[in-house]
């Protein structure tokens, strides 16, 4: 019997809000979470904006020992996972716990910890750093802390494929449940890259916008970084139904590809192959898809290439699609992006609202799709796709079906 995989819990932290509900409200209102950065040494940056979750602080959320062990990335991952698990209402027996795991995508590592420790040794000339720098900064800190808090004792790991990290994480967790290797997986992504060193590095590539994030708009000027985490609880459908769980939607397909061409320039062929692969895995015809949450980074190259790939795959069905880039609102959360965007797809299906692409000023003939400009739209969304196309050419596309 084919096992099916559903989402029974969802937690989100982003610059739009610190809970799933707040994030959804932001998406529906078309609110911008992008603003001026006030991080240390912001005056030395030429890119001074980001999707920073200003209201997110560890005080009051975590006890003293956790604060000293959790980088901001982990704080966000754990906060989203706590919300997702509480919503899912899961209580695991020992036998269930060993068949339940966690997969978290993250492109970098605990960069706030790295930035701060480097300041200490290089800038301040000190010869001693905090004893927990290593457990704070390691890329798997989030996955490990989630497993510890929620007693998830099965297969657990971290995925790092730049901007596709969260989609690869959710897709692999989907495979685990679908194959029967696990019955429940906690999966998503987390990233807190808005520190001086990371932004300074991104400035060098000359692809960052200094004013705003305007995906698909002719006057787009580049990407704007965000931060956050989103975590999904994935369960085998029969198990979820038997316990009467709320079902947000089904994950029904996952497609992966490698461009095998260029380390930064996107490829239409690689993107189209990943989209096709997700549709095939889901056993879906292209015209079943109603909404695509685009990668939509607002760089000149991505948006043009992504639209061409969508036209290539969808052909005559392309004009009927609603497409949007929610990065226009929460910024590009890098390794967390796919998870925040899975949340947008689940909202579109469960609440029948397609989130918009805000800051849309001017149509671009190279981006000739309905990109849901500026305002959310009521629509019955029976199926959706979420695209992630990473630096390094590693692509990951998730297919969702309404529950």
């Amino acid at each position: 019997m084919t096992r099916r995989v559903v989402v029974t819990g969802l937690g989100v932290v982003s610059s739009l809000g610190l809970t799933r509900v707040e994030h959804f409200e932001g998406l529906k209102e078309g609110r911008s979470g992008i603003g001026p950065l006030t991080i240390t040494d912001a005056d030395r940056l030429s890119v001074k904006i980001g999707g920073y979750a200003d209201a997110f602080t560890p005080e009051g959320r975590f006890d003293r020992s956790d604060v000293s062990l959790f980088d901001r990335t982990t704080q966000m991952a754990v906060t989203a996972a706590d919300e997702a698990m509480a919503e899912a209402g899961v209580e695991l027996s020992e036998a269930e716990a060993v068949r339940s795991g966690v997969v978290i995508g993250t492109a970098l590592c605990g960069m706030e910890t790295v930035d701060s420790a480097y300041r200490t040794v290089f800038q301040e000339g000190k010869n001693r750093v905090h004893p927990f720098v290593v457990p704070r900064l390691m890329s798997n800190a989030g996955a490990s802390q989630i497993s510890m808090r929620h007693g998830l004792k099965g297969p657990s790991w971290t995925v790092s494929t730049a901007c596709s990290s969260a989609n690869h994480a959710i897709g692999q967790a989907f495979h685990m449940v679908k194959s029967g290797a696990s019955d429940l997986m906690v999966a998503g992504g987390a990233e807190a890259p808005l520190v001086f060193g990371v932004i300074k590095a991104w400035e060098g590539l000359r692809v960052m916008s200094r004013d705003n994030c305007r995906p698909f708009s002719k006057n787009r000027s580049g990407m704007v970084q965000g931060e956050g985490a989103a975590v999904l609880v994935l369960e085998e459908m029969g198990r979820a139904k038997a316990r009467g769980a709320t079902i947000w939607g089904e994950i029904c397909g996952f497609g992966m590809s490698a461009d095998a061409s260029d380390i930064v320039t996107p490829s239409q062929d690689g993107a189209a192959r990943a989209i096709n692969s997700a549709l095939t895995d889901a056993n879906m015809a292209a015209d079943e898809i109603r909404y695509i949450n685009a990668h939509g980074t607002a760089t000149a190259a991505n948006d043009k290439t992504e639209c061409a790939a969508i036209h290539q795959v969808f052909g005559p069905a392309a004009p009927k699609l609603s497409v949007s880039s929610t990065k226009s609102m929460h910024g590009h959360a890098i390794g967390a992006a796919g998870a925040l965007e899975a949340a947008a797809c689940l909202m579109a299906m469960s609440e029948s609202v397609i989130p918009p692409t805000i800051n849309f000023d001017e149509p671009d003939p190279d981006c000739n799709l309905d990109i849901t400009p500026n305002e959310a739209r009521d629509a019955d969304v029976s199926a959706a796709l979420s695209n992630s196309f990473a630096f390094g050419g590693l692509n990951a596309v998730l297919a969702f079906r309404k529950a």
Binding site: V207, I263, A298, T299
Partner: protein, 87 residues
Amino acid sequence: MGDTTEEQVIAIVAEQAMLSASEVKLDDNPEDMGLDSLALVEIVFSIEETFDVSVPFNANDLASSEFDISSVGKIVEAVKALVAAKG
């Protein structure tokens, strides 16, 4: 590397294009020289480091960029202007 701004810019471009400086002409354009987007970003970085200037270049918006990279000669002119503006 030569002393004049033109010689220095040509040397920077030539290094990225894997050519000798004598092969680089002022009316050559980056595309014909086989310079991809990463090479352009490295050229801009070398110019900033060599001349101690900040180059207004956004890879997303070459058309309206204040820094004209349409030919080697245009890059030389733009660098001269930046150096002059520095005073």
